[in-house]
Subunit: 151 residues, 2 copies
Amino acid sequence: MKLSTKGRYGVRAMFDLALHEGDGPIPLRSIAERQNISEHYLEQLISTLRNEGFVESVRGAHGGYMLAKNPEEITIGHIIRALEGPISLADCVAGEESNCDRSSNCVVELVWNQVKEGIDEVLDSITLEDIRQEAINAKQEGEQHGYMYHI
Amino acid sequence: MKLSTKGRYGVRAMFDLALHEGDGPIPLRSIAERQNISEHYLEQLISTLRNEGFVESVRGAHGGYMLAKNPEEITIGHIIRALEGPISLADCVAGEESNCDRSSNCVVELVWNQVKEGIDEVLDSITLEDIRQEAINAKQEGEQHGYMYHI
DNA sequence: ACAAATCCCGAGTGGTATGGTATGATTAAT
DNA sequence: ATTAATCATACCATACCACTCGGGATTTGT
């Protein structure tokens, strides 16, 4: 069970935007360069992020992307679910139509639901602001000890 | 982010074995029939489960599979990790070699690790015995209300 | 001895998702 | 007009998933 690049790149891109909050629209190219992600590919990801209302875009020259909400309001759960669809360990949990012949009364289904809720809780407990703070702390600590902390 | 059938089928098969604990070796065919899983496919899954030490096998006629440990000692995290590999949201967390150029000091890596630990905790909080109890309770309740609970 | 039941093992396969490229259109600043 | 950027769509190679197939090897009943 692993996240695909969609979720991972998405979180990194949003984290990058959070670091540059207030700097006006950030062009995709600079995000892609800093995060070392294919620009064209990232385009597709950020496009769905825009449709879901997590980023705003400004077209044309000097355009780019900005967070549409405060970093405290965006969790990595939001980002990951937007890009990868709902966390669903079994089809019967997320899908509308249960194709399981055990139909409505299935014990294992209860378990998957339990797990799904647990994972969602974990993912939604981490906001972009949390990560930003962590990055700032790490950077300061790094400077004190004489090494560079890559952000 | 979803579990593949490996993990799902694996948990269901192990749950089935837990329900028949003490009945001697359970032939794969009966598990496959009850759980409606391809027998050959399940064979591959239970084979790795055997190699990982979660089930024991008895060969020959009247053979089959049995849990190698008590149901309280087997979590669905054990089963899922055995069949699907470690929960790794990013490669830099699970893999031995970090192919990320941000190398050792990466903030996002910290986040993935946090999430991974959270998910592992959720998965390891549910044992086969828990599911068995849930099944028994559900069955009794179903009988009281006059409907069949499928196990 | 023989047949049936069962586990064991590895190779092959069609479909789908992943992780992108390629090409071009649209919009806005200079 | 030119350049910088977002938007949109189509395409593609590869890998993985969810099996199937074809056979062994081993034990038990008769």
